[in-house]
């Protein structure tokens, strides 16, 4: 692996205030690409992305669409280095193919295991229905997507969607292969 310092287009230090939370303490742009993002707006998101959660492993680098960030924590502060990736498009394409393959395999496995999770509670079902209506507001989602969101089996999600459909709260937007895409009724 080669290190190319020219990939570095900016740096920032994100501090953390116990009352206010993360804030942009210092920034420096090394090239015009530094204007790629408004750091003041994103300081919080970067901090959360690298240090979110109380325990567990934290990322060292995150790749975004047009840049990547490598971050080094020091106490509560986080030093972010902004880099422009070069020549990784092909790698990303290949990795995307692998990811799609994994998603497909998982789908088949999910369909095979029809273990019902505990959604017998009426309150839970009502809460799921309420959240589905919020999720579908202004957009469309497929049955498998909704099933994964709520960790339901095929029969459970179909029971929920049928109830909502009967109450005219959702409707079938279109079919993609054998998959039904839902939207608000």
């Amino acid at each position: 692996m080669h290190f190319n310092e020219k990939e570095l287009f900016g740096a920032a230090l994100i501090g953390f205030d116990m009352i206010d939370g993360p804030f942009l303490k210092w920034k420096r742009g090394y090239s015009e690409s530094a204007n790629l993002l408004k750091l003041d707006d994103f300081a919080m998101n970067f901090y959360l992305a690298f240090r979110g959660g109380n325990a567990g492993k934290k990322p060292r680098a995150i790749l975004y669409d047009k840049f990547y960030i490598v971050a080094f924590p020091r106490d509560l502060e986080l030093c972010c280095l902004f880099m422009k990736p070069q020549g990784i498009e092909n790698n990303l394409k290949e990795l995307n193919k692998i990811a799609l393959r994994i998603i497909d395999e998982m789908e088949v496995n999910d369909n095979d295991s029809e273990e019902d999770s505990d959604v017998s509670n009426e309150d839970t079902v009502d809460e799921i229905k309420r959240l589905i209506l919020n999720l579908l507001n202004g957009t469309q989602m497929s049955t498998p997507e909704l099933r994964r969101y709520f960790k339901l089996s095929n029969s459970q999600i179909w029971k929920v969607m049928s109830d909502l459909e009967s109450a005219n709260k959702v409707k079938r937007f279109k079919k993609k292969g054998r998959t039904v895409i839902w939207t608000i009724g």
Partner: protein, 181 residues
């Protein structure tokens, strides 16, 4: 001079936290206050979001916490500390209002006794047939000052600002007294 400026800024700085069950409109309230475009697509907040809003002499740091239980237990507990004002948002449906009662009980352990807790009975645009409760009814159940709101309506921004302003003015007076003391 600088320390004087800093102390005056800190004096007018307030931490306002927003909690509530998933999909009740917490982030929409944050967007309403920060004049961001309100879209109708629900994307759950992960962890929390922070925005700074300035109006009159107040600088408000708004903490919008994710509604998911996992986040609430792992994240909001620590971050609720130091709140000057706590909003508990409900979508005004009977079940959600009852859940809010649990949430208020939970949150009271992590905020100071003098931190006002205000309930926002959101989604007042929904039909009564859908079970939407009036703010007064919500207040009777929760025993907490409750205001009705339709956060997806940008015209309601002033209403929300006035609610916050009213509460912050009380806190500012209290702070003045504490300083004088």
């Amino acid at each position: 001079m600088i320390s004087k400026m800093l102390s005056s800024e800190l004096h007018n700085l307030y931490k306002v936290s927003i909690i509530g069950a998933p999909a009740v409109g917490k982030t929409t309230i944050l967007k309403l206050l920060s004049k961001n475009t309100i879209d109708r697509i629900y994307l759950p907040t992960h962890g929390f979001d922070l925005k700074t809003v300035k109006f009159d002499s107040f600088t408000i740091k708004l903490w919008d916490f994710a509604g998911q239980q996992g986040y609430l237990k792992s994240c909001s507990r620590d971050h609720l500390l130091g709140s000057d004002l706590l909003f508990v948002v409900t979508d005004s449906s009977p079940k959600n209002v009852l859940k809010s009662r649990e949430l208020i009980n939970y949150a009271t352990h992590f905020v100071e006794n003098n931190c006002p807790i205000i309930v926002i009975a959101n989604k007042q645009d929904l039909a009564k047939n859908d079970g939407r409760m009036e703010p007064k009814r919500v207040e009777d159940i929760l025993h907490v000052k409750t205001y009705g709101l339709t956060a997806i309506n940008p015209a309601e921004r002033n209403k929300l600002m006035n609610i916050i302003k009213k509460e912050l003015e009380k806190i500012a007076k209290r702070r003045m007294k504490e300083i004088a003391f």
